[in-house]
């Protein structure tokens, strides 16, 4: 059975996580690391994907800085995205040749993990054609954005557990006007601890990817 290391990192600044991902990604490509998933939440940040339109950032840079929101570029596919505390971010660093050699399958699988976690909470979320991510009506509950080189992945998914939804008003999510962000906590009307969602995401990931998932420390993996 496939084995995937699950590495909890806690709250990490986007740029630090990006550097770590790049390092782990190149080690994974050289076959010097096993498949792994980084599980974390970010300090508030707006990121621009490869096809980002800067006009989709609505707040002005000074106001953003004053409210403590960083702006950063990322090599993942997609437009403008917000990340912040209360959002479960998973960055799988996997060699897809050991799973399915398919970009379409991989994006589907990441969405599937989020759909199963939502279903665990009794939330019926779904996919919208041409709009990757998972949705509850017109509300975006989870986002996907990935980068693949030599069939090894980085970046991944972001599931809104209980983030500050006001912060999403700083952007046009994924460049789609009229789309709004929603969260598990907002839909349930109660607090939802991130650790609990992380555990459920781990189980869902194991099922969707057909893998045994074992927690690990990042130091153990990188030596």
């Amino acid at each position: 059975m496939r084995e995937v290391r699950w590495i909890p990192l806690g709250r990490v600044r986007f740029r630090e996580a990006l550097e770590l991902q790049r390092r782990l990604h190149s080690l994974r490509r050289r076959g010097e690391l096993p498949d792994l998933v980084l599980s974390l939440e970010h300090e508030p940040v707006i990121t621009l994907g490869r096809s980002a339109d800067p006009r989709h950032i609505l707040g002005d840079p000074v106001a953003l800085q004053a409210s403590g929101v960083e702006v950063a570029e990322a090599e993942r596919g997609g437009d403008v995205t917000y990340h912040g505390p209360g959002q479960l971010v998973l960055y799988p660093i996997l060699d897809l040749r050991g799973f399915e050699r398919s970009i379409k399958w991989y994006v589907w699988a990441l969405e599937e993990v989020m759909l199963r976690v939502a279903a665990d909470y009794g939330i019926r979320a779904g996919r919208l054609p041409g709009r990757p991510g998972i949705w509850v009506g017109n509300g975006k509950l989870g986002a996907v954005g990935v980068y693949v080189r030599g069939w090894v992945t980085m970046h991944g998914l972001a599931l809104n557990v209980a983030p500050n939804l006001d912060h999403f008003r700083l952007i046009v999510p994924c460049g789609i006007h009229g789309a709004e962000a929603t969260s598990i906590a907002a839909l349930l009307g109660r607090e939802v601890p991130l650790e609990e969602v992380d555990e459920r995401a781990r189980d869902a990931f194991a099922r969707v990817f057909g893998a045994r998932v074992a927690p690990a420390d990042v130091e153990v993996v990188t030596g």
Binding site: G49, S51, R76, G77, R101, S102, K104, V107, P132, G150
Partner: protein, 81 residues
């Protein structure tokens, strides 16, 4: 002359070339990233199949291409294959 081809990506019919990482005339190494294509929120890196000089860009940034399509050409280095 070697072709830079979009590989089969798994049920993906069309991608968009989002970025060429080199200009025509640049030297590239075999396996070096030369272009990035995107489909459905996924960026996929296209690597140089051989070492040489980027000879032609056939599908420019912003344009669509299909898996199997030749998006550029590399003139192989003298004495190498």
């Amino acid at each position: 002359m070697a072709d830079i081809v979009i590989p089969p990506l798994g049920e993906v019919e069309e991608v968009r070339v989002v970025r060429w990482l080199h200009e025509v005339g640049d030297e590239v190494q075999a396996g070096e990233a030369v272009a990035e294509v995107e489909s459905q929120k996924a960026t996929f890196v296209i690597e140089a199949p051989v070492a040489g000089r980027l000879f032609a860009i056939l599908v420019p940034e912003g344009k669509a291409a299909a898996p199997g399509e030749v998006i550029g050409k590399i003139a192989e280095r003298e004495g190498e294959r």
